[in-house]
């Protein structure tokens, strides 16, 4: 019933496999990703048709800890340069999004124990998950980020709803 319109992704810096270009956006040119439409092409896809190359742990992480595609881009960026401290403005410049929206996304990611926060003249963030397995999960997600984006896009609207439902768990669960 739920059919997300998957917008062609902003390509976070450093990610490989650009889309194929040409008259037919799905033409198979050497070195390109045939499943990715060219920029500006909107693809209809159903949630049931999503590729399932990600492990169940990765999918659960995406559904539970990543509330939007922006958050996904940010966490992948921070994961790639794990030892670097970033300000919200630096991240916003890197991924070409407004700094206020970026700051809100960073707050949410930090509240899920995925980031270290340093308080100085401005707030700085660094990838530092509390749970051990998150690094491996993110490496897997980075290798198949297009599928990850589809999962996040499909689940974004339900994220707050899931938090609402989880609030009524009387006993705290892991994560």
């Amino acid at each position: 019933m739920f059919s997300p319109r998957c917008r062609a992704p902003r390509f976070p810096p450093g990610l490989r496999s650009p889309p194929c270009t040409g008259a037919n956006p799905f033409s198979r040119a050497p070195g390109c990703s045939p499943d990715v439409p060219a920029a500006g092409v909107v693809v209809e896809s159903s949630a049931s048709g999503m590729a399932s190359s990600l492990s169940p742990q990765a999918k659960r992480f995406l559904r539970d800890s990543v509330g939007s595609i922006l958050q996904l881009d940010i966490i992948l960026l921070l994961h790639r340069e794990e030892n670097r401290w970033w300000s919200a403005e630096q991240i916003a410049q890197e991924i070409r999004v407004g700094p206020t929206t970026t700051a809100l996304a960073l707050e949410e990611l930090a509240s899920r124990n995925l980031l270290d926060v340093r308080i100085g003249s401005t707030l700085a963030y660094r990838f530092s998950p509390v749970e051990e397995g998150v690094r491996g999960v993110l490496a897997e997600i980075a290798a198949d980020h297009y599928t990850a984006r589809e999962i996040v896009a499909a689940g974004a609207a339900g994220h707050a709803a899931r938090r609402f439902a989880e609030a009524f768990r009387l006993r705290k669960t892991d994560g």
């Binding site: 439902a165 009524f168 768990r169």
Partner: protein, 86 residues
Amino acid sequence: MHGFLIGIATCSCWGITAFFLKFWVETRDRFFLLFAAAFAVLSINWLLLGLWQPTGETRPFFYLLRLLAFGLIIAAVWEKNRPAAD
């Protein structure tokens, strides 16, 4: 004024019901279905109170609907916390 306020409450509850139904369709989590039912019952409760404005002895029977709504909410919380639910 009372009719206006009860109208707001009634329509808001219908809107909330629609949201919870949407969440249930997307997630198939019975928790959301029970909350949708609860707010639908609350909406009917306020609609009936607004239309009939009961007094005295009949009033508690109208509020039984409200008890049903909160009973559904309790059922939703139980649903979320029973051992098989995940």
